[in-house]
């Protein structure tokens, strides 16, 4: 597609940069850890709290966010030289809103149960600062292929954090993983589930511990 076109022009200008060069791998891997959107940039917290009660909705939400962020990055990057600077935020918002509405409609048509569970939160991807932040900070000034990588990086950076939070919340809050009763299967029938974990406060706690662990490893300090 158009990414290949961008690749081709790049090849003509300079010696070909490998498809996954060191710079590009960094674009991908930075948001996973050192520049993670949730734990370091502290964006997208609202949805990270709201939908992480169970693994399955969290997984669907992760896929939705990754899809939206990758395609929005691609589209904005392709249009970056056409978008008038004075209305760029509105253009970005319109593109995100369209993609999110599409995701929501598709969920409604083919995955109705999940649509009911996620409800408003799919629509709220529009206001997820991660998506808009990437468009403004990266896609507006970079080539399409790099923007896709950046989108994937940030998307997965968001996804793995909320999946870890959901793992602990479902395990201790409902005693299950993907609705499979883990403790019952291990022969611990009346496992005392922790109501705090079902509550959003539980998400704050798990997230706080995650941030603590991560920051003590990377040595990141707030400036």
């Amino acid at each position: 597609m158009s990414t290949e076109a961008a690749e081709a022009t790049e090849v003509q200008k300079a010696p070909a940069e490998p498809l996954l060069s060191k710079r590009r791998r960094k674009i991908m891997s930075d948001p996973l850890n050192e520049d993670n959107p949730i734990t370091v940039q502290v964006l997208g917290i609202c949805s990270a709290l709201a939908i992480t009660i169970k693994m399955e909705p969290t997984l669907v939400m992760s896929i939705a966010v990754i899809a939206v962020i990758v395609f929005a990055n691609l589209i904005i990057s392709l249009l970056r030289n056409l978008i008038p600077g004075r209305v760029r935020i509105i253009v970005q918002l319109a593109v995100i809103a369209t993609l999110v509405t599409l995701v929501s409609e598709i969920l409604k048509a083919y995955y109705f149960d999940m649509y009911k569970v996620l409800g408003a939160f799919v629509g709220l991807i529009i206001t997820n600062c991660i998506v808009m932040g990437r468009l403004e900070a990266f896609a507006m000034g970079n080539k399409p292929y790099d923007s896709i990588l950046d989108g994937l990086g940030s998307g997965f950076g968001y996804a793995w954090i909320i999946l870890v939070v959901a793992f602990f919340r479902e395990l201790f809050g409902s005693g299950s993983i993907f609705d499979f009763k883990v403790f019952a299967a291990l022969g611990w029938e009346n496992f005392p589930t922790n109501g705090l974990m079902v509550d959003s406060i539980g998400a704050f706690m798990v997230l706080g511990i995650l941030i603590w662990v991560q920051r003590s490893k990377t040595g990141y300090v707030e400036h």
């Binding site: 939908i51 978008i83 008038p84 600077g85 593109v95 509405t101 599409l102 409604k108 109705f112 009911k116």
Partner: protein, 250 residues
């Protein structure tokens, strides 16, 4: 780079047309699939109020079961049968939009009734759809009464956006199970409805009370109001069926 106002306006128009067109296409293209899902969901909830349907994985098997077991009618607030809508078209209970009806005065609404047939085709339970306001947005429910039209066989609630983990618990089996076996009439045969009390783990509940949800008192209030409103509206129909049954027994 500064661009002229004309360019900005043209760009915005083009963008709007393209994105708008895309969304309309998606909306039109996905509509049949979405409507089928909604129909399946409705029928699932109706059946779910009277029986355990978790063993029915296949949507078509579920729809077949629905056709076999459920007979539906529409009544008005006086308990009279309604067969056509205001335009004279035949009215189908499953197609009645409870949410739309909720906006009308109670006297002008139409009320679907679903009769669940047990062995030998005899009516075994009556299922009444309901609609009301929760804390953040609408809540709805299906209430199934045993054939004595007093004892609750089961309920199935739905909601738009009650708080997950708090008010949203009305959709869980734990909360819905608390309604089973409760009664809506007192010994003097007066309608008292069933109400969810404040707080959780309350001792000494009567047959007209169910234990509440901790942290979701307002959702509980919404459910109570919904019950009162709709049981009041169905009262005429319920009394009519009761007196018919008495005549049949004589």
């Amino acid at each position: 780079m500064q661009r002229s106002n004309t360019y900005i306006i043209l760009f915005s128009i083009a963008l709007t047309v393209v994105l708008g067109g895309l969304l309309s296409l998606a909306s039109v293209g996905l509509k049949p699939a979405q409507q089928k899902q909604i129909e399946l969901d409705t029928k699932k909830k109706i059946l779910g109020a009277v029986m355990d349907i978790s063993s029915y994985e296949d949507p078509n098997a579920l729809l077949a079961l629905y056709d076999e077991k459920v007979e539906s009618i529409v009544v008005d607030i006086e308990g009279n049968l309604v067969e056509t809508d205001e335009k004279g078209n035949p009215i189908v209970a499953e197609k009645v939009n409870i949410q739309k009806n909720y906006r009308f005065d109670p006297e002008e609404r139409v009320y679907p009734v679903y009769k669940f047939k047990g062995e030998g085709g005899k009516v075994d339970a009556y299922i009444f759809p309901m609609f009301g306001a929760g804390l953040w947005d609408w809540i709805s429910g299906y209430l199934a009464l045993d054939k004595d039209l007093n004892t609750i066989r089961g309920v199935a609630f739905d909601h738009k956006q009650e708080t997950p983990g708090l008010g949203a618990r009305i959709t869980t089996d734990v909360i819905q199970g608390r309604y089973v076996g409760k009664e809506i009439f007192n010994d003097q045969n007066e309608l008292v409805s069933v109400s969810m009390v404040k707080g959780e783990g309350n001792p000494g509940l009567t047959e007209h009370q169910v234990d509440g949800m901790s942290g979701a008192t307002l959702t509980g209030k919404g459910v109570n109001e919904m019950f009162e409103n709709y049981l009041g509206a169905y009262l005429a129909y319920i009394n009519k069926v009761k007196s018919d049954n008495k005549l049949a027994l004589k």
